[in-house]
Amino acid sequence: MEKAVAFRTIMNEPCRDHPDEDSLERFLLHQCQEDELELVETHIIACEACVTRLETLEFNIEATKLALKSFVQSVRLAEPKPKGSFLSWLTLPRLSFAGASLAFGTLALTFISLPRDVNLTAYRGAESNYVSQWLPLDLHLNGRDLPSGPLNLEVVDARGEKMWAGSTSVKNDQIHVQIPRFTAAGQYFIRIYSTQEDASGGLLREFSIQTKPLF
């Protein structure tokens, strides 16, 4: 017993004291200043009890972190999403996509609005002329031997139903007329009438065309 007592000396070293919980927490979270780190490290190297405290504290901190992380996430999910301003919508990818779409739309609109030139020289039955469906047509019809002056023009489908009608005239042996686009594929007839009806109903000439999607 006397020997045991002789082992002990009173040491006035700060590292002899057990660090408080805040110090241990700072140690575990790597937030100790150099002097505090020295005290805590020197102490725990030789203090089994404080190592046990550290292990428990480490476990508790880990559990607290997990709980806080989960809690913060659940709070964030529960919060209503703030309505973004119009400007926040304008991101680079969205703007790029919108620009590309607009350019494509403009090109497509321009393309389908431009009339296609069609020269018809043959009479009905002699030849099949294929023209573009969905595109307006700029017709150049053979007007040789036709009387000068105003003429009526009709476009009828295969069943004889009138699709379009207008007036025109012969210039330099040609009849020039623009007709709107055909929306259905099939056979159509272009008929030229005299403005003065006679026994034949005034029909002067007829052309045949076939429409189908052509670009």
Partner: protein, 227 residues
């Protein structure tokens, strides 16, 4: 007779949750067990088994913990053994001139060991990057039982968190989750150092209290107490 630490030291409470500020104060005052460093160093120097045994008992747990924390559990026993060999050899050579500084001396040796292991690991990684790059990664994973306990505890803590005030919760989130330093929290939350300490300890105490109530109501507490 060898006076070991466990015989001499009134141990502080290991449960951080239950420890109040008062208890913590007591703990700090209780202090580390007085050990006759001169005698211990003399015994080690003389190669006496008693001295070696006491040295090992005194420092093995702390050294093991420190090395494991810094380097991971790989080859831990070897590293602890190497550290002891260095300490013992240094004492025998008479490198430790002031025996009362043995704790600081051991700490310095351990820190140097950690630095040396890290340096070796870095060197090996450079040399054998393609072959064994994973060898030096510290694995601090808990075992499945500890993982389950951790999850269970965090679930309970999560329910307890909802009962805290926003301010209290904010302090805990900043300190534990985001690991913000104390001065940053004080600055951003407009708190003095004392206010921060008080608020944090109050939040933790409340947190622990609510957690205990939840545990008790769920019936787990009695099981844990028995365990």
């Amino acid at each position: 007779m060898v006076a070991t630490q466990s015989q001499l030291s009134p141990e502080p409470s290991p449960d951080g949750d239950h420890q109040t500020g008062e208890a913590s104060e007591k703990t700090s005052k209780a202090g580390y067990p007085p050990v006759e460093w001169c005698v211990l160093v003399a015994q080690v120097k003389a190669g006496e088994d008693a001295g070696m045994e006491q040295l090992y008992k005194l420092f093995s747990r702390g050294i093991r913990y420190y090395l494991c924390r810094q380097l991971g559990p790989q080859e831990l026993e070897d590293k602890v053994h190497d550290t002891f060999l260095i300490v013992v050899n240094a004492i025998r050579r008479g490198d430790l001139r002031e025996p009362e500084r043995l704790m600081g001396f051991v700490r310095t040796v351990v820190r140097r060991q950690v630095a040396a292991y890290i340096e070796t690991a870095v060197h090996n990684r450079r040399e054998q990057a393609d072959l064994e790059s994973g060898v030096t990664v510290a694995d601090r994973k808990q075992n499945p039982e500890q993982e389950a306990m951790l999850r269970q505890k965090s679930e309970l803590m999560k329910t307890a968190l909802a009962a805290l005030s926003k301010r209290d919760r904010d302090i805990l989130v900043r300190f534990y989750l985001y690991e913000q330093p104390q001065d940053q929290i004080c600055r951003e939350m407009d708190l003095t150092e004392t206010q921060f300490r008080l608020l944090k300890s109050r939040a933790k105490a409340k947190f622990g209290e609510i957690g205990k109530k939840k545990l008790a109501s769920s019936g787990i507490f009695s099981v844990l107490v028995r365990a």
